[in-house]
Symmetry: C2
Subunit: 280 residues, 2 copies
Amino acid sequence: MVIIRTIKRLRQVLSGYNRKGRTIGFVPTMGALHYGHLSLIKACRRENKIVVVSIFVNPTQFGPGEDLKKYPRTLKQDAALCKKEGVDIIFYPDAKEMFPSGYETFVTVEGLSRELCGLFRPGHFRGVATVVAKLFNIVQPDIAYFGQKDAQQAAIVRRMVRDLNMPVKIKVMPTVREIDGLAMSSRNAYLNPLERKDALVLSRSLALAKRLVHDGVKDIAEITGKIREMILRVPKVKIDYIAVVDQEHLMPLKKISGKSLIALAVWIGKTRLIDNIIIK
Amino acid sequence: MVIIRTIKRLRQVLSGYNRKGRTIGFVPTMGALHYGHLSLIKACRRENKIVVVSIFVNPTQFGPGEDLKKYPRTLKQDAALCKKEGVDIIFYPDAKEMFPSGYETFVTVEGLSRELCGLFRPGHFRGVATVVAKLFNIVQPDIAYFGQKDAQQAAIVRRMVRDLNMPVKIKVMPTVREIDGLAMSSRNAYLNPLERKDALVLSRSLALAKRLVHDGVKDIAEITGKIREMILRVPKVKIDYIAVVDQEHLMPLKKISGKSLIALAVWIGKTRLIDNIIIK
């Protein structure tokens, strides 16, 4: 395994591979790797000849006042995990390598970026789409892997790839959860022990919603009402949104029917967490 | 030579080529080919194994009230010219193939798109950058060719390629002119004989500017003043802009020094024409 810090060097190394019949798999991350990332890396390793993982805390997807500075950076541990999983290349550029002075090109997936988290984090998905477009152009993977936990990100990347005709296949892997149900996230590291307990309300309220649907409840307002009620029982909690939407277009549904995405964003103290489930 | 109308079919045909050591050259056009386009195609033919020309009148780069509908469409003639020049593939998609229902992803080169023509054609360069990004992803060329007549477009495409790390080399070829000096443009077809004569004022005023610089004039206001004076002698003319900028960033210069771009956009009757020269 090699750790590469510049675009030029990465291109040199990748062009040294004989790509004839061999695929490049790619897992873009912001580091602070957890089992969610590892599930992507494992799938990538199984399905490709060459495995590239990028670790880049992308400044363009953080808004003013967000957690860019305190976002966990754990390269040494990340590298050890990647090595163990058989990663071939870690691409670990700094911000100037990716966004040099004078940078001014952005990719926007317009409608999808305004929904859900987009309402609360303006510019976030523009930053995501832009850095993913850049990374795809740099790595030129055959397949790229994303996690379902970031459902909106996955929908936006899929849409971008389709709209811009990018020659890459997107695979979205299921959310990996702690044993008690909390969706794995690098931001879970911000939680103190009490908050860590409170954070269980996200997955529990989604489980409740699933039971309600299973029991025949189809009315969206009733479902979101019950979720809200459960969440608001936790002190010092703030709900950004609870939404029931279609998975591809993220448009609000009037009734549960077919495949629905129930997604929520909730502040536990000073930590903003997201989670979602797909109801079939 | 084949004419291909769908992205899927183009990909099939291109993947049939053995790319090992062979390059794909690409000339994106809106058709209505003239000698300016042919100079790009000739360079492309000289320098590449496979030559792809796209012909697509891109609706996203036309504003409301602009000439999308009346833009000349001359496929039969274009195809004959391409065949004569040894083009391998004409990619000729329709608008739905490129921008299907639900399309919503756009590429914006922010600063550069606001200058010069961008002030008068809001959204134009977003449409250009987006369609060029799409075409690059579809064709995956090694080298793509653009004309210097569209200086701002060339600067924006270069910037986009650099910013988004697109794996393509951009070549910008000199403006080709009619024997009397008028820059070749598909829009010249809109001019009636009298307007055709009046349109010479664009190249003539640029030639005047060149002489002034050659004679030692360095003051921008003096140069643009003389250009304006000459243009305004023509009846029914409207000036969108006369600008002296640096070629890469399109930022206004205070003095002629090093490489300067003198660019202008002028309405001759109902036809908007652009032209420019580089002063070294």
